[in-house]
């Protein structure tokens, strides 16, 4: 048994030392009727080489973004990951460690997360950030609960231009506590209707949620929405699913956001068929004690040396139990570390260049589609690296099927979430899509039958 060092003989010696004849005696407290009287019905053990073959066979059945050109985004983005990221994150001192409860021997994790918190504050334009959460959608749900904790109000304004799965997660979390989500429509710009926001605001409104860039890739007018929300003493919660946009788009903090959350996958984390990702979470200092999640703080030891610790845990479940700000007791530490390494490599100029490249490539693709016969760009608003295309003749499913024949994974078919957009595709273009690929996509779609 390659992962179990102790042999039968070792166990024998240990059982003698314990003073029992067999391991059976150690399980004597489990009543016989609660014992499994047979072996587990599972496949027999595989050797390491056998396992490798089995896993290769499974993984080989899947498409991957190396073998296909892909235009899928919708909350999970294909960005280039520099080699140094995996080399550093795969140092086992990082990945085989536990949550850093013992700071004297966890300074690596702790300093890295303190740096992560700083980077997230700089990007979002907020004052404080936590050590990360499960993913963008659950971070948004936690933000909605936090807004309710702050002002005690019950209604959440939730635009339909927010990622449908994020909305669903918010609903799942919020309705247990009696919160109501009110949907807001989108306009022909693909953005949230400010007039509708104003009309829906009331003394019952706890927060207004906005995603920017939103699910359709469009940038929302955050400042105006913030002003409206604050006018009704409600909070503005901004969700960002594509954080590469921070490189070129004004920060939500500057626009008046009270809580900024989002999905950090784009920062060096693989697509991973949907997870693990990381939710980032930032807010104003005034709301520190209402914030969920782990926090790392700087302090010093008795010799005055700088060090980092988990702090403000009096908000948390292991102290506060049922009165805690959340039930969360971990972060997505390794994903946050990955983001930290990635952002350190890109740095102040690199992130801007990357964002600009995404913006320009998408603009190029969007211009091409606006001229492509049989298609139109569905919304007129400014976009970052995603946009919606309407197919006038063929259904999106037909279009995508034809594309697969050319080893192109097309856009997301929006009918699944928006019946009124059943003829639309959500396309994403990143730095990983060359001009040739974009041209090939247009050509294939133009000629798709």
């Amino acid at each position: 048994m390659r992962y179990i060092p102790n042999t039968e003989a070792d166990c024998r010696t240990m059982l003698d030392a314990i003073g029992v004849r067999s391991s059976e005696e150690l399980f004597a407290d489990i009543p016989s009727k609660l014992r499994l009287k047979r072996g587990l019905d599972l496949p027999p053990p595989l050797s390491e080489s056998g396992l490798r073959r089995q896993m290769n066979a499974l993984a080989g059945k899947d498409a991957d973004v190396d073998r296909y050109s892909s235009f899928l985004g919708a909350g999970a983005y294909n960005h280039f990951i520099p080699a140094a990221v995996s080399h550093l994150v795969f140092r086992s001192e990082f990945y085989t460690a536990y949550t850093p409860y013992q700071p004297e021997i966890s300074q690596g994790t702790l300093q890295a997360i303190y740096e992560y918190q700083t980077l997230i504050c700089q990007l979002t334009g907020m004052e404080i950030a936590n050590a990360s959460m499960y993913d963008g959608s659950s971070a948004l749900a936690e933000a909605v609960l936090m807004a309710h904790r702050i002002n005690g109000r019950q209604e959440v304004l939730m635009p339909r231009a927010v990622h449908p799965e994020y909305r669903m997660v918010c609903g799942t979390y919020a309705n247990k506590l009696g919160l109501r989500l009110l949907e807001l429509p989108y306009t022909d710009k693909g953005t949230t209707d400010l007039k509708q926001v104003k009309a829906a605001l009331s003394p019952r409104t706890s927060c207004v949620v906005v995603q920017s860039p939103n699910f359709f890739g469009a940038l929302e007018m955050l400042e105006e929405i913030a002003e409206a929300a604050h006018g009704a003493d409600a909070l503005l919660v901004v969700a960002v699913a594509e954080p590469v946009s921070f490189g070129i788009v004004r920060s939500p903090g500057e626009c008046g956001a009270d809580i900024v959350v989002g999905e950090g996958q784009s920062f060096g984390n693989h697509l991973n068929f949907g997870g693990p990702y990381l939710g980032f979470f930032a807010t104003k200092e005034a709301y520190l004690r209402s914030m969920p999640g782990r926090l790392i703080g700087q302090t010093e030891d008795k010799h005055g040396r700088t060090g980092y610790v988990l702090t403000l845990s009096t908000r948390e479940q292991h102290i506060r139990r049922e009165k805690a700000t959340s039930n969360i007791c971990t972060n997505e530490g390794l994903c946050a570390l990955t983001a930290t390494v990635y952002l350190s490599l890109l740095g102040r100029t690199g992130l801007r260049e990357l964002a600009l490249l995404n913006l320009r490539k998408t603009a190029y693709a969007k211009a091409a589609f606006s001229k492509l016969r049989g298609y139109e760009v569905r919304f007129s608003g400014s976009t970052f690296n995603e946009f919606v295309v309407r197919s006038k003749k063929r259904t999106p499913a037909q279009v995508n099927r034809a594309l697969l024949g050319k080893r192109i994974i097309g856009g997301m078919e929006l009918g699944r979430f928006y019946p009124e957009l059943a003829d639309c595709l959500l396309l994403c273009v990143t730095e990983e899509n060359s001009r040739e690929e974009i041209d090939a996509l247009c050509k294939a779609m133009g000629g798709a039958r």
């Binding site: 240990m14 003073g19 086992s92 740096e115 799942t172």
Partner: protein
């Protein structure tokens, strides 16, 4: 023990924060040349939406970034470095092959929305993992969606609430034993339940009469941890389940400690309706310095209609995602779960097979009882009976020397070990909760035992040495009061930050 065999060794560099090094214009970024027209951003976005700079953001070369994180990694203690006996955390060895296979392009470079026809391997893996976990636990279905143990608890309680609501009354209260992890009451509260704490009996287990007294038609569920946080099997679990079911309640099992009973007893056969698995404990997924883990939820058939969407189903020889569950609680996160963690757990189960998983439990329990038997003359053992995966001592014998659990934990670092879980469970004053797991050799356990005995001696003879520990780490004990009273949660520029070269 000779001195040269113990303690922290090697070089420890001082490494400033990312923000306090580098120089203007430096970058490690290598982007392709733009192959599309280089339109000015002002022409693509309205001016008021544009950002020109991120003041204070790092400006470093690749070698600086690599040294920065490599040096910091050396300040960390991981399972690959040594013994990590954190009770209830199951810090077992994380097999290397698992770290290779999750990164196969068909897994790590697959998009969650790619067509099902092009994700058959990933879906098959999820389908089979659900079956394996169901078999190990005796449950009927498993949701793979939750990202962590606490996330699983939350989903589990949501399922119970949804089920009771469908019967007409979600009820008001949840019973939680005093030995439970703090996430249990917090998860119940997030589901809108009031928490009633119930006392463990004198032998460390929940007693049926205590449950019977607290149980009525307003109680939605009981949350038990089995084996519990004292490392004991809840002997009366079947009777407790009967009492709770008798009043129409549900039984939730925190499965954090499944490692002790795999292949020996199945929670589903003991009357449990819902439980969460901690794949990062029992199934060898690395803890990552605080996540990502995965907390799938096993459930009985009556709860299946409420599972979060989508669920993976088999249609002939194809695997599909079924989003159409009209009574579903919804979703607890986007997409399907921490898939890369699921891949590792799958690989682990396939490597060990049925006999291997049972052997895991046996050796984990032998190791824990061996530690307990060797330390029991030296530390106070509040519940003196055979344990399962972990044993819980206290500092009662050291307190007369003014040496406390925290001191013992810190002193262990000087001997090259990660401390056990301390001050938990709450029902043992000054608890030292030790879980060795099956992946440690007898020699390692003997070294740890020797260190613990030495510390017990030191507590009597040189208590100050223990009280002021650790002595060999990069830093000594940190001022946590200062950290909490004057929170410094991020770096800030000391003066105005220079404009970046645009």
């Amino acid at each position: 023990m000779k001195d040269e065999t113990i303690g922290i060794q090697g070089l420890a560099f001082h490494e400033p924060l990312l923000f306090d090094q580098g120089s203007k214009g430096r970058t490690a970024c290598s982007l392709p040349e733009s192959d599309v027209p280089e339109v000015k951003p002002e022409r693509l976005l309205p001016k008021k939406l544009l950002r020109h700079d991120i003041p204070g953001f790092p400006e470093l070369s690749e070698v600086e970034v690599v040294r920065h994180f490599t040096r910091m990694s050396q300040w960390n203690y991981g399972v690959d470095l040594g013994f990590y006996p954190l009770g209830s955390c199951t810090m077992k060895y994380n097999p290397k092959i698992n770290e290779d296979v999750w990164r196969l392009p068909g897994f790590s470079r697959a998009h969650p929305y790619q067509p099902e026809s092009l994700a058959q391997g990933a879906l098959q893996l999820m389908f089979e993992l659900e079956q394996y976990l169901a078999e190990v636990s005796g449950m009927e279905r498993v949701s793979l969606q939750p990202a962590a143990g606490a996330h699983g608890e939350l989903l589990g309680m949501m399922l119970i609430r949804a089920y009771l609501e469908s019967k007409g009354n979600p009820r008001k209260r949840v019973l939680v034993p005093d030995s439970a992890h703090g996430t249990n009451p917090a998860s119940s509260a997030l589901c809108g339940y009031q928490v009633i704490q119930i006392k463990s009996g004198p032998k460390g287990c929940v007693e049926p009469h205590t449950v019977a007294e607290a149980m009525d038609e307003d109680v939605a569920a009981i949350m038990v941890t089995n084996p519990n946080t004292l490392g004991l099997f809840e002997e009366h679990i079947a009777e407790i389940a009967k009492i709770v079911h008798g009043k129409g309640g549900q039984v939730y099992c925190d499965g954090a400690n499944l490692n002790a009973i795999m292949g020996i007893s199945r929670p589903g056969d003991t009357g449990i309706d819902v439980l969460q698995f901690n794949l990062h404990k029992t199934f060898s997924v690395p803890h990552g310095g605080g996540g990502p883990g995965a907390g799938p939820v096993g459930l009985k058939a009556h709860l299946a209609p409420f599972m979060p969407v989508p669920v993976v189903e088999r249609k002939g020889d194809r695997f599909v995602l079924n989003h159409n569950l009209p009574s579903s609680v919804g979703k607890v996160r986007a997409f399907y779960g921490n898939f890369a963690a699921l891949v590792r757990a799958y690989a682990y189960i396939r490597s060990l097979g049925p006999s291997g998983l049972r052997r895991v439990a046996e050796v984990a329990v032998i190791n824990a009882n061996y530690l307990m038997s060797q330390l029991k003359g030296h530390y106070h053992l509040p519940y003196d009976k055979f344990c399962k995966h972990e044993c819980v001592f206290s500092d009662a014998r050291q307190i007369p020397h003014d040496v406390h659990t925290l001191d013992i934990a810190k002193r262990l670092m000087d001997y090259g070990f990660h401390p056990p879980t301390i001050y938990f469970p709450l029902i043992v004053r000054g608890a030292l909760m030790i879980e060795p797991t099956e992946t440690e050799s007898k020699e390692t356990l003997d070294q740890f035992i020797a260190a613990m005995k030495k510390i017990a001696e030191e507590a009597e003879r040189e208590p100050e040495l223990v009280r002021s520990a650790p002595h060999k780490t990069k830093i000594s004990r940190l001022d946590e009061v200062k950290a909490a009273r004057q929170p410094n949660l991020r770096w800030k520029a000391k003066g105005p930050v220079e404009e970046s070269a645009r």
